[in-house]
């Protein structure tokens, strides 16, 4: 491969950190390194930097700065929101509602809570991955203490009707959490207008550093700590603050939300050309997710008769970075629970490819993928025993 240009189309897995963000972070390593809890002047620089990032983050969400709590990322935020509300409100009830297509940070947390005596309803989704507000409302019982539905899905990019879902939660006086890890910068968010009580985000999904995230917690929400200890984050999240990371998050969210419509339009145009080109060039291909209500950069497609990992390896060989299923679980090629929840047959879900576009991409990248991908699919189909015949039924005796 050597000096080959890398075509990075996996922005939903993670993004590069913008140079402006790195520049903002650097002074907080060696220079303004003081512990923000300390009293002396150099520590005040750290504290001011965190305060500024809190304002930037709050502004991006329509929240108040003192409703923003910094964490180590999306997974911690999800764990905290769900376990924290569950533990603090146990006396009111033990029922949680979520959806079948959540990220594992939500699903596995819910499964843990099931072991702890909570009951969890996993709402189904339609063929496009949409949760039906009417179905949510029917699932509510007088024991329901939390509804957690993701803002936008990381695999198929489907954007959920958050304001409607939030309104239902509000009507029934149930806390509403949304995992907005994939939504930041792609869709305008207003936690007040959308009735959101808690919202998770993760900096490395919007050109900020890895290992930094935030949880928005509306004033008055009863929540137990996830990480107990020192009095940081107004006694809600212990641990010496990751100042440079927090500064990076603040700068990144400010940049990525400065012009959401303009930014999305540019990426959507590239994505749409890619979708059209791929579906035109490759037969037996199916677009996953909702054609309209989807993240601007997301393209998820299934190619029959072939398997995803082998596609990724060939694409990598051409310098194209993509993923199949969720990046977080692609170390193990389980069929995606998201695709299955939309009703896609298992064997077809194995042949899914996710290309997520972002600021690393140009029109030229789209050209290259349109040239390379059909060849890769053809090559793999040529060696697939399924290509001429249809899939065979039966158990999994390898």
């Amino acid at each position: 491969m050597g000096a080959q240009r890398i075509i990075y189309m996996d922005h939903s897995a993670t993004t590069f950190v913008k140079p402006e963000v790195v520049t903002a972070m650097i002074p907080y390593f060696t220079e303004h390194f003081g512990n923000p809890s300390s009293i002396y002047s150099i520590a005040r620089e750290s504290k001011n930097a965190i305060d500024a990032a809190r304002v930037q983050t709050a502004k991006a969400l329509g929240a108040d700065p003192d409703e923003i709590y910094f964490t180590s990322g999306g997974s911690e935020s999800d764990n905290w929101a769900i376990k924290g509300v569950a533990y603090a409100n146990r006396k009111r009830g033990n029922h949680i509602i979520t959806s079948a297509i959540e990220h594992h940070a939500v699903l596995h947390t819910c499964q843990f809570l099931e072991k702890e005596g909570f009951e969890v309803t996993y709402l189904p989704v339609d063929q496009y991955g949409l949760v039906d507000p009417a179905v949510l409302e029917k699932a509510i019982t007088d024991k329901t203490i939390l509804i957690t539905i993701m803002y936008a899905n990381n695999e198929i990019g489907t954007i959920e009707p958050i304001a409607e879902l939030g309104a239902i939660a509000r009507k029934h006086k149930i806390y509403f959490h949304t995992d907005a890890v994939q939504a930041i910068g792609s869709v305008p968010i207003d936690v007040k207008a959308q009735n959101i009580d808690l919202l998770s985000l993760s900096a490395h999904k919007f050109y900020g550093p890895k290992g930094t995230g935030a949880l928005y917690i509306k004033k008055g929400v009863r929540i137990e700590n996830l990480i107990h200890g020192g009095g940081q984050e107004r006694r809600k999240r212990a641990g010496t603050e990751n100042i440079s990371g927090i500064v990076g998050l603040g700068k990144a969210i400010e940049m990525v939300t400065a012009d959401i419509p303009g930014h999305s339009a540019k990426i959507r145009a590239m994505r749409d050309r890619l979708v059209k080109g791929v579906l035109a060039a490759i037969p037996n291909a199916r677009l996953n997710g909702n054609p309209e209500k989807r993240l601007a950069g997301n393209f998820n497609v299934s190619f029959e008769f072939i398997e995803g990992e082998s596609m990724l390896l060939w694409l990598d060989d051409e310098g194209i970075c993509a993923s199949t299923g969720s990046a977080c679980t692609s170390g193990s090629l389980e069929p995606s629970h998201v695709l299955l929840a939309t009703g896609l047959p298992v064997e077809i879900s194995h042949g899914s490819l996710r290309l997520t576009l972002g600021d690393a991409n140009t029109d030229k990248d789209v050209d290259v993928v349109l040239e390379v991908l059909p060849k890769v699919v053809a090559k793999l189909r040529d060696m697939s025993p399924l290509y001429q015949k249809s899939g065979k039924e039966g158990g999994c005796n390898v």
Partner: protein
């Protein structure tokens, strides 16, 4: 993740294709699990004179098919039967633990093709010495 050898056999798979009027054919795996291997053998005088495959699956599945067909070519049926999944994995300079089942699949594909030949010839099919079935139960679709 993969050794250079695996990548070589993935990118330049040996023996891809079908053998018309093959003497033995073995198909193993399941699309639901994400991999299917179909092994074709040409057998003359108890010798595997040609071996080909078609595979739907991950990089390791393709490389294992490629390597297994290489390993059995020119061997007697008895020798070919002895080509174990470990032998395939070793020849590939190792496979990640979660991918070892791909080499198992290759071994079983060869076995199935050999027994297909034996049954067609009116011979008793050979039985697996170390059936991997327990392993499979645990690993069902776990890749």
């Amino acid at each position: 993740m993969y050794s250079d050898k695996v990548m070589d056999h993935f990118k330049n798979p040996r023996n891809v294709g079908e053998i018309e009027n093959a003497d033995g054919i073995g198909e193993v795996g399941n699309p639901v699990c994400g991999d299917i291997m179909k092994i074709f053998l040409k057998i003359e005088n108890n010798i595997v004179t040609d071996a080909k495959f078609k595979t739907f699956g991950c990089g390791a599945a393709i490389a294992s098919s490629s390597m297994a067909t290489e390993l059995v070519r020119g061997k007697t049926l008895e020798e070919a039967w002895e080509v174990s999944n470990q032998a395939v994995a070793e020849a590939l300079e190792g496979l990640p633990p979660i991918k070892m089942h791909c080499s198992v699949l290759a071994e079983e594909g060869i076995h199935k093709a050999i027994n297909d030949y034996r049954v067609k010839k009116g011979l008793e099919p050979w039985v697996e010495k170390n059936p991997h079935s327990h392993e499979h139960d645990e690993m069902t679709c776990e890749h």
